[in-house]
């Protein structure tokens, strides 16, 4: 068997890197334990949906109408009502965070209900968490209108509601934030392995002085980069597979698109993340700094600016511009399409093209900055 020195060097480096991954508990933890923790956290812990909101109901003059309305709130699974005699008591409870909002049914509620002259119910909502407040308000409004409509029919009164909204939710019929979040978790985990872990391991070579010895060997730049990328690419793809399987199996997230596209776009995203990680470590040459920089410029943006948790379209224009250089943004879009909507080609193609452009830019930078020099 003829031996090819190039291949032999690459093989040696890959084997060394693989052994180091296996022996270093922290990289295993990052690649396999962290995904599970994140999945559980977003699957069970974090929920952007409102359920069983504690709601105070003040009924000043109980009658059939108030009974019927409070019954409506009791039946809704969005609310768990608490009853108060006076508005003052309810407001105290609101201040102490015992309830999220108040429905105040005033004295002449039943009489003035259809008079259109005066508001008959008062609504107070704790606005500290604006997101939660909006949700609560929306649900209260929905429940109120729904009740009003039904009650009017029963009473035989013509009701003038100008537009009747009939909401229909597409792609996520259950409006479950879990369905929406878990595909995003996949992108986060791959960013951690691609950028954070890779940035740390290359910087470690500088820190421990192994780089200096490695440089004075026939090893070329490309071989060095390839030797670092291959093991972490495999690790990242393994983690991708594990997370997707867990997501579908454990959290019943649907997967409508094709597995082939997931693998191809996943591989592309992994390469972009690795390029970012290598760039960070080449520039910082110190494990601690590399770790910090990787968290700030790859992990946090992937979390906040990728559209994973916060919708990009509702961000300020300047921030929206910044999101364009966050690779996770494109992959999150692809993932959400593949999981929840299927192979939506316009989304997949444009985002894949954007990822390719980023890959080109970052890999050029890595190649330019990786030098077999100490300076």
């Amino acid at each position: 068997m003829s031996h090819n020195p190039r291949l032999q060097r690459l093989k040696g480096l890959v084997r060394k890197e693989t052994l180091q991954i296996i022996r270093d508990p922290s990289s295993i933890a990052l690649a396999f334990v962290l995904p599970i923790i994140l999945l559980f956290l977003f699957g069970y812990g974090v929920s952007l949906d409102a359920r069983n909101i504690p709601l105070g109901i003040v009924v000043e003059q109980p009658d059939a109408a108030t009974q019927s309305l409070s019954g409506s709130f009791e039946q809704s699974y969005y609310f768990s009502p608490h009853y108060f005699q006076t508005i003052q008591q309810a407001e105290t409870a609101l201040k102490f965070h015992q309830i999220q909002g108040i429905i105040w049914l005033k004295q002449n509620f039943a009489r003035q209900l259809f008079s259109h002259t005066q508001a008959v119910i008062g609504v107070r909502v704790n606005g500290v968490d604006s997101n939660q407040a909006n949700l609560t308000l929306g649900y209260i409004q929905g429940t109120w209108q729904d009740w009003l409509y039904r009650y009017a029919r029963v009473q035989g009164v013509k009701l003038n509601i100008p537009i009747e909204a009939e909401p229909r939710v597409w792609f996520n019929p259950a409006v479950s934030s879990r369905m929406f979040l878990i595909p995003g978790v996949v992108a986060i985990i791959m960013t951690i392995i691609g950028s954070l872990l890779t940035a740390m391991v290359v910087a470690r070579e500088w820190d421990r002085g192994t780089m200096e010895a490695l440089l004075v060997t026939p090893l070329s730049n490309i071989e060095f980069i390839a030797g670092k990328i291959i093991p972490y690419f495999v690790l990242g793809m393994g983690s991708l597979a594990a997370t997707v399987i867990l997501a579908i199996w454990l959290f019943d997230v649907p997967f409508i698109g094709s597995v082939g596209i997931l693998l191809v776009t996943g591989a592309l995203f992994m390469l972009v993340s690795l390029a970012v990680g290598l760039l960070i470590s080449v520039l910082s040459k110190n494990q601690f700094v590399a770790g910090q920089v990787a968290i700030v410029i790859s992990f946090l943006p992937a979390f906040i600016l990728s559209g994973f948790v916060f919708d990009i379209h509702s961000m300020p224009a300047a921030i929206q511009v910044i999101t364009h250089i966050v690779p996770a943004r494109y992959f999150v879009a692809i993932l959400q399409s593949l999981f929840l909507a299927g192979n939506i080609w316009p989304i997949i193609l444009t985002n894949t093209a954007e990822l390719l452009i980023l890959l080109l830019i970052f890999s050029r930078l890595v190649a330019k900055k990786t030098r077999k020099r100490l300076e």
Partner: protein, 589 residues
């Protein structure tokens, strides 16, 4: 004349650190003769590591020319990197890989054909004595074994040029000898050209040729014999039956006309400016009955002689005594009894016992990893004791640590200075830590500046100071509160012979003034400065006593005048023999 394997012409290199420009190499030219070991020596910051990195193509050349094996250093750096073997100061071993896996990696990287591996591995393992440890993680090897593995990795493919940056630093004497043996064996067998930098001057004498660098300039390239010639007839051994070596050295070092005074076995080794030593007699009483004897100059004598010409600042200022001078008394100040410390199942310090008397210099000698620093940290109350007892100045540091620390000065192995603060800011900070304020603080700071000659660096950030000055600074800080007991952990590690001399001059003066000094070192010859000492290896005490007693232990027919290093090696070998004998007993019931 044979063609040079490595040649350097008018090489210059500058670095920019912030606003400062450092001229690391200034017009250096030399060539290395093929097939021999050339030593690269010089004080810290002389430019040794920079020169080696330039030769390996790791740094860009500012001006000048480098040729290695016919390849040009500026344009063919990658080819040079592919052909030379280089072992950096902190050798790049992967500590989480085994010995075998490290070897495999370098065999792959350097393109050793799979068919040739078995024989080369066997050869290298036999040479380094690592054969029984191939499955062990490199991180679990001792310091000496790590260096040998590093060398084996550098030699996995026989290179034409081998560049070694301080391969023996911090390594125990036995491993040092073995490393040299490996290098020489390879030079003879394969005709390798070797460039080796070292801080041990006795090693320079083993080189075929020596290049002396100082402040980026090359002072001389010659054989060690030629180096020594310049001090011919100027080296002496001075002794007196009535004065201690320390007192003698203190006095001699302050006389004009004396270049170097060093405590060695049997007296003080002196280098004079001229070939005459009679001028010292008038400075001593007739009663001291001073004896002088001419001795063969060593490489170190000539090294110091050369460098002192370039250094006006010789550090002759002695520390002002602040305690009434007392001779070493029998009062026990530090008591250590059956001290033990374990980390998991690893026994770092195993049943160590010794006593230190007031006003003496007590040495803990041993290679890196012998357990010296761990012992130290327990004595200072920085590390909990697993079992056993120790007390310092009658106080058990585990219980009354803060109270006892007022009397203790501690100089850690790593400089515990704030690099981003200036000398004055550091001094002020530490002075207030020790509860010195206002007039008292000012006085102590002024004392530190004067005694340690820190005036020129007053407003320099300590990170930017030369290593020798950092060491002085740490020493000054440890003495800020006038402690009675001083703990010095590896104070001379990594600093050059000039700074080491300066350090010992100060320590001697302190001991003379009644301060008890406990010091660790891996330089065996420094044992001569100690009144009493213990030699440690693998966490246990091999021997304790005076330096003379240690040497007597190793006295044999073929070794009538053993050095401290010989004594150390003898003790280690004794221990190993005992162990193997015990193992034999176990295996043959």
């Amino acid at each position: 004349m044979s063609v040079a394997e490595v040649s350097v012409e008018n090489l210059c290199k500058t670095f920019h650190v912030g606003k400062q420009t450092i001229q690391a190499l200034n017009n250096v030219s030399f060539s290395l003769k093929p097939g021999q070991v050339t030593g690269l020596i010089g004080p810290d910051g002389a430019g040794k590591t920079t020169l080696m990195r330039l030769l390996c193509g790791l740094l860009t050349i500012d001006s000048g020319r480098i040729t290695v094996s016919g390849l040009d250093g500026a344009t063919q750096a990658a080819d040079i990197q592919a052909s030379v073997s280089y072992m950096p100061q902190r050798f790049g071993l992967y500590e989480d890989l085994t010995v075998q896996e490290n070897l495999d990696l370098y065999a792959d990287l350097k393109g050793l054909a799979p068919g040739q591996r078995q024989t080369r591995y066997e050869e290298l393992m036999k040479l380094t004595g690592l054969a029984p440890f191939t499955g062990r993680l490199a991180g679990k090897l001792s310091g000496g074994m790590k260096q040998k593995l590093g060398l084996a990795c550098a030699l996995v493919v026989t290179p034409k040029v081998l560049i070694l940056d301080e391969p023996t630093v911090g390594v125990d004497p036995i491993s040092r000898r073995e490393l040299w043996h490996i290098v020489y064996q390879q030079v003879e067998q394969a005709g390798m050209t070797v460039l080796l930098s070292t801080a041990y001057l006795d090693e320079a004498e083993r080189c075929a040729e020596v290049i002396l660098l100082h402040e980026g300039k090359m002072l001389q390239q010659a054989t060690p014999a030629i180096f020594s010639e310049r001090v011919q007839g100027r080296s002496w051994l001075v002794s007196s039956p009535h004065l201690s070596n320390r007192q003698l050295q203190l006095k001699l070092s302050q006389l004009p006309g004396i270049i170097d005074a060093l405590i060695v076995q049997g007296g003080v080794r002196v280098v004079t400016e001229t070939a005459d030593i009679s001028f010292i007699q008038p400075s001593f009483d007739a009663a001291t009955s001073l004896q002088t004897k001419a001795i063969t100059p060593s490489f170190e004598d000539s090294f110091i002689d050369r460098l002192k010409q370039h250094n006006t600042d010789t550090g002759k200022t002695a520390i002002t005594a602040h305690i009434a001078a007392e001779h070493p008394s029998d009062e026990v100040v530090i008591k250590v009894d059956q001290l033990k410390r374990t980390f998991g199942d690893f026994i770092a310090v195993n049943k160590v016992s010794f006593n230190v008397n007031k006003g003496e210099i007590f040495g803990l000698l041993g290679a890196n990893g012998a357990g010296k620093s761990t012992t130290f940290r327990m004595l200072c109350g920085l590390l909990p004791i697993s079992s056993g007892h120790c007390s310092v100045a009658g106080v058990d540091l585990r219980h009354a640590a803060n109270q006892a620390r007022q009397n203790i000065g501690y100089m850690a192995q790593k400089f515990s200075l704030y690099g981003q603060l200036t000398v004055m800011q550091n001094l002020r900070f530490y002075a207030s830590c020790y509860g010195l304020f206002k007039k008292q603080q000012q006085a102590r700071i002024q004392w530190a500046i004067d005694t340690f000659e820190l005036e020129p660096y007053r407003n320099t950030n300590t990170a930017d100071m030369p290593l020798g000055y950092k060491q002085r600074m740490s020493f000054a800080v440890a003495l800020m509160h006038q402690p009675d007991i001083l703990f010095l952990d590896e104070p001379t590690s990594g600093i050059d012979p000039l700074a080491r001399r300066e350090f010992w001059a100060r320590t001697n003066a302190l001991a003379e003034s009644g301060v008890t000094v406990l010091v660790t070192t891996h330089f065996m010859e420094e044992a001569n400065y100690c009144d009493h000492m213990v030699i440690m290896a693998n966490g246990t005490v091999l021997a304790k006593g005076t330096p003379e007693q240690m040497k007597q232990l190793a006295q044999q027919e073929n070794q009538p005048e053993p050095s401290m290093e010989d004594a150390f090696i003898y003790l280690i070998e004794q221990q190993m023999n005992k162990q193997s004998a015990r193992q034999k007993q176990v295996s043959t019931p």
